[in-house]
């Protein structure tokens, strides 16, 4: 035990001695959490709409007014020339075009049906489908309203009424969803980079040989390397939770201790992974690229930015090996929904097994001989 304490002391001296490293550990994550949470938004608040109104009737005006009145839309231009509208899309001055054809209102009264065309800039496919569903919603509501007005049985509307209820995030605020995820991401990046650089740095500088001849066994060695960064990452997590609470007023719906308990297991996975990388690489550059390579895959498949359910099967299977996916999911469940342990115990057990496996990898890959 005493040996471990000595290694701990050595590691902390090294961390606190590096004047540039300390702000990296403390200030950068907080700044990033603040900035990124505002930046990482799929919300579309201001769709710039071009209205091409060939009909110029009362009905078409009312439809365009509906769009103009919606908080999601801004009328960028109104024209009677379709080519001009598409040019605006091309120059990126607008995102969506609504085309109301000639005789729209006439065909609506005579044939009881009429058609509107929506043209959306779909380079960003997900934004396009969201914009499309916004527009559909507005037109759908308008359609229901005119049915109510024209229905002979006054005020009846559609027979089957839909009442939506949005749970856990009724304002549909995207930040609420992103903050818990980004928090996990930052803690992971910090932990993984610090540990993956650590042993390999001693190798490059040559101090590893002093450690090798010292009377430390591999368990002491790994424990001494792991615990300091575990404490640092845990501290970062708490800091981040405070930022979430006070800057974004996202309080933790579930139990804080449950969250910290899961986090402590998760950090063992990440840090052992980093140490494992550090044991088999020769230079810091190598270590950086290996850990970067895994981080990118972990992040992209983690469901942080895009829902895991929309990924293809094989990607979902890959996620069984992705610690980030487990913890982001659990963290969101605890923070937003107030889920309890029984709701995610399977994921937690997988994390625990993962931690054990990675820890033994790191321990047994470490060689005292050069």
């Amino acid at each position: 035990m005493k040996t471990v304490l000595y290694i701990l002391q050595k590691e902390f001296i090294q961390v606190f001695r590096d004047k540039a490293l300390l702000p990296m550990i403390l200030i950068v994550p907080v700044m990033q959490l603040l900035v990124l949470s505002y930046a990482a938004t799929f919300e579309i608040k201001m769709v710039r709409l071009v209205a091409v109104d060939f009909d110029k009737s009362g009905v078409s005006h009312r439809i365009i007014d509906r769009f103009n009145g919606s908080p999601f839309y801004k009328l960028a231009a109104q024209t009677a020339n379709y080519a001009e509208a598409e040019d605006l899309l091309k120059k990126d001055k607008a995102d969506q075009i609504i085309v109301i054809p000639e005789y729209f209102s006439k065909s609506l009264t005579n044939e009881k049906r009429a058609e509107i065309q929506l043209v959306t800039n779909a380079i960003n496919g997900s934004a396009a489908s969201l914009m499309n569903s916004y527009a559909l919603n507005i037109i759908m509501t308008f359609n229901k309203d005119i049915i109510v007005k024209t229905n002979p049985l006054k005020g009846r509307g559609l027979p089957v009424e839909v009442r939506p209820r949005f749970r856990y995030n009724p304002e549909l605020d995207y930040k609420t969803y992103m903050v818990p995820g980004i928090l996990v991401l930052l803690v992971t990046i910090i932990g993984m980079i610090l540990t993956s650089m650590n042993i390999v740095k001693e190798k490059e500088v040559g101090t590893i040989e002093q450690l090798n001849v010292a009377p430390i066994n591999r368990f002491h060695f790994i424990a001494g390397k792991l615990i300091p960064f575990w404490i640092i990452a845990m501290f970062d997590l708490l800091l981040g939770l405070a930022v979430a609470r006070f800057a974004f007023s996202i309080s933790i719906e579930g139990s804080v201790f449950l969250l910290l308990g899961v986090a402590s297991v998760y950090l063992v996975v990440v840090l052992s992974f980093g140490l494992f990388v550090s044991t088999f690489t020769e230079t810091m550059q190598q270590a950086m690229f290996v850990s970067y390579f895994f981080l990118v895959i972990f992040i992209l498949l983690s469901g942080l930015f895009t829902p895991i359910e929309s990924m293809p099967r094989w990607a979902q299977y890959l996620d069984y090996l992705n610690p980030l996916a487990y913890f982001i999911k659990i963290n969101r469940m605890i923070m937003l929904k107030g889920s309890s342990f029984s709701d995610f115990q399977e994921q937690f057990y997988s994390l625990a097994v993962y931690a054990a496996v990675m820890l033994s990898f790191a321990t047994f890959r470490h060689r005292k001989t050069v």
Partner: protein, 348 residues
């Protein structure tokens, strides 16, 4: 080396195949308290639409909260009891949609699709009774990317990202490494001029970046059949300009930082993450708060992404993006001047 070429390969493939926001087969649960012909019909309509996957049939109200908390089910559809009877007698019945809105976009898309399907059913019902309702049909057209492939969005981003990663991170770390191990001094006392040293250090990375660029473009074209609608020559020369910009930034970082670790952390946190998030790579810049929009102007990657999208997807010529090109040019000029200044100071 393997990793240098592996990263772009894996990234493009992952982005291309795995990263989508399209809604299909969203897991839903149904709580049917009346179990009659109408509710069964509506359920069938919802399931056969392809957007939803019926995962569970719930029996009681208190199960709703539990399945939502477990996290797989995205929406619970609740039919009120006596649904068909009410519809017949009062001409009206309601369906409640309870959505897991912790992910707001999926929730609002699911809601829009479900509501559309249920309204469609209402229209049919009215039409059958001879009371044809006014119906506005919407024909949607997706311009530039009709199949809503996310590759179209991501390939320009990945190109930018990889070029930056290799150029900025690799150069800054490799120069900082020479500093740390002391070999830089050996180079400096040699009869080489500082400019020659820098050029010599940089050329391998230019070649590397260029090979990666071609790999990504090849993947995009042959695996994802993503078109290059504009001119290849224009695309490649803009890329070279961007590579030069990134390299000069990398040199700048390396002259500022003392150790490899510092250089690495600076380029990782100061550059890569902001580039991913603020350049319009994944998240559209227009929707960010104004402060961040101004901040995003400082991201060289943002301008380059605009250029690539213009050339590859819209197929327009330089008259549409000469401003962006000029900005990248000025940024690289700035970096080069500053790093030459810094480099000379270290010589003394």
């Amino acid at each position: 080396m393997v990793i240098l070429f592996g990263i772009p390969f894996v990234q493009v493939l992952l982005f291309g195949f795995a990263i989508t926001n399209d809604l299909k087969n969203a897991p839903v649960a149904i709580l049917d308290m009346s179990k009659d012909v109408v509710t069964r019909n509506i359920t069938r309509k919802l399931v056969s639409s392809g957007y939803f996957l019926l995962e569970k049939n719930l029996q009681a109200n208190d199960e709703i909260e539990r399945v939502l908390k477990q996290g797989t089910i995205k929406m619970v559809v609740v039919f009120e009891s006596g649904f068909a009877r009410k519809l017949q007698k009062e001409g009206k019945a309601h369906i409640q949609l309870i959505l897991d809105a912790s992910e707001p976009n999926t929730a609002s898309m699911i809601k829009a699709y479900a509501e559309g399907i249920i309204n469609g059913y209402s229209f049919e019902m009215l039409a059958k009774k001879g009371n044809i309702p006014l119906q506005i049909n919407v024909r949607s057209k997706m311009l530039y990317n009709p199949e809503l492939k996310s590759v179209y969005m991501f390939v320009p981003g990945v190109i930018t990202f990889i070029l930056m990663l290799i150029s900025v991170m690799m150069t800054s770390v490799s120069i900082a490494r020479e500093k740390e191990t002391g070999t830089l001094e050996a180079l400096l006392v040699s009869p080489l001029k500082p400019a020659q040293i820098v050029v010599g250090k940089v050329i391998p990375y230019i070649i590397l970046s260029f090979i990666n660029l071609l790999t990504i473009l090849g993947l995009a074209k042959f695996v994802f059949s993503m078109p290059v609608n504009g001119s290849y020559l224009l695309l490649l020369s803009e890329s070279v300009l961007f590579i030069i910009m990134s390299l000069s930034l990398g040199i700048l970082i390396s002259t500022i930082s003392k150790t490899q670790q510092q250089a690495m952390l600076t380029s990782m946190f100061g550059l890569l993450l902001p580039t991913i998030l603020l350049s319009g790579f994944i998240f559209p810049v227009e929707n960010m708060p104004v402060v961040l929009q101004y901040l995003s102007h400082l991201m060289p990657g943002k301008w380059f992404i605009i250029i690539i999208k213009n050339v590859m997807l819209k197929g327009v010529g330089i008259e549409y993006f000469w401003k962006e090109t000029l900005i990248i040019f000025l940024i690289s000029l700035f970096f080069i001047v500053v790093s030459i200044r810094k480099f000379k100071i270290r010589l003394e």
